[in-house]
């Protein structure tokens, strides 16, 4: 997924869409919007980012999971099988993005990239609902996909690359 920070206005529609689509428990969220302000007044620079699980290529949560509940599904989405999860919290400790939380039912929960929608050929809820169309979702290995095309022409960054997790959410600068 690529997110254009120049287009994002921080409306938090993606957060609400996720909560509605995935029936996220009250008081919890799988995605959130962060604002970073850099500089000294009056020279201030603002960056607004919609953040969620980075579906890392080298996912520490998958590595640490003692039961294999956290796994990388076909296509690269990091998922949790609730029936295999024992709620030990190892994956929560291992995530540099704090993207996971303990579901009130006990198992660990997180962004699934709306795997149920993606399998049906739809976009994740957050992408579909974004009023500024600042998010691009697709197969990064396919050079003709929208996301590959835009990443070719734009500068981008990932969050905390020094954590070594090879995150798969790219912020277009």
């Amino acid at each position: 997924m690529a997110i254009d920070v120049k287009k994002c206005v921080g409306c938090s529609d993606c957060v609400v869409a996720c909560q509605v689509e995935n029936n996220v428990h009250h008081g919890y969220c799988r995605d959130w919007v962060t604002e970073t302000i850099n500089g000294t007044y009056p020279q201030l620079e603002t960056e607004i980012r919609s953040e969620r699980c980075n579906h890392c290529d080298n996912a520490p949560c998958v590595r640490c999971c003692p039961t294999g509940a956290s796994h990388i599904a076909d296509g690269g989405i990091v998922l949790v099988t609730a029936r295999k999860c024992i709620g030990c919290g190892a994956c929560i400790q291992s995530c540099p993005y704090d993207a996971r939380y303990s579901h009130p039912d006990g198992h660990v929960d997180k962004c699934t990239f709306c795997a149920h929608r993606v399998e049906a050929g739809q976009q994740p809820a957050c992408v579909a609902v974004c009023p500024t169309s600042c998010m691009y979702f697709g197969d990064i290995d396919n050079p003709y996909s929208d996301i590959s095309q835009i990443m070719k022409v734009r500068k981008w960054k990932v969050l905390a690359p020094e954590a070594g997790t090879r995150p798969q959410i790219f912020y277009l600068l």
Partner: protein, 313 residues
Amino acid sequence: MKEELFLSGRMNPNIDPYLNIWHWQIPLYLFLGGLAAGILFFAALYTIRGKAHLMPATVKWATFLVPAALVLGLISLFLDLKHKPFFWQLYTTIRFESPMSWGAWVLMLVTPLSFIWSASYLRETVPSWKWRYRWLESFESWVIKNRPGLSWAMIVLAVILGIYTGILLSAFNARPLWNASILGPLFLVSGLSTGAAVIMWLSKDPAERKLMSKIDLMLIGIELFLIVHLFMGFLASTAVQIDAAGLFLGGQFTLGFWVFVVLLGIIVPGILEIMEIRGYHIPVAVPAILILYGGLLFRFIMVEAGQITRYLY
């Protein structure tokens, strides 16, 4: 100036404002696991060296505490799980990359072994004890005959158990305070030190007590060396690890760690042990209790502080 804020107001329970997903259960288990590993290590070591008859507290009395410590530790680990009915999923797979999987399997092996080991000394300790079934008696004589062989298994498992309590934490690269490879050896040495303290406390034989006191003193020295190296490593590392060390060097854990763990829980009992060896009369319970208390508090502080440290972007 750099300011970060959540526009959409993220407040996931136990995740925000700072991570606090592990409570008292994990540090208590790390302490009990380390203690059990320490006692089993010395019991196995002196059995292998053929000095079991000289060290009754080491190979016999202290090992009665191990099954209790491990069962309590397992209970506290179970209490920590948030999806309890599914705990058996741990034993449906072996995942070499996951320290927790290693730990679960080692506990599965070492807990029954510790029961068998102490049970084989039961008749020697309580002469009136009688096994209800014949096969238990023959199993007991088999265990007694094979103690040196079992010791080899036990010493290996004890080292894995002790070192795993530290590696469990150091495997989490997202928590800079834990992400130091020296944590494994540090927790092992600390666990051995608490084990030696218990043996020293239980021992009635002056020679055995003095030997364990000397061993403990050596372990205290290694522990201090490793703690200094832990912080040297942090300060020479990346910004996130310098920040993590800052919690202990002027931050909120400074007093708790340096005064109540390092001074009262490591240095003071070390000095008392030196005085004991030099011939002063020190009640053995004092250094032993201080070491146990230091080991317990050390784990509580490391778990609590580690969860606060994170990557900032």
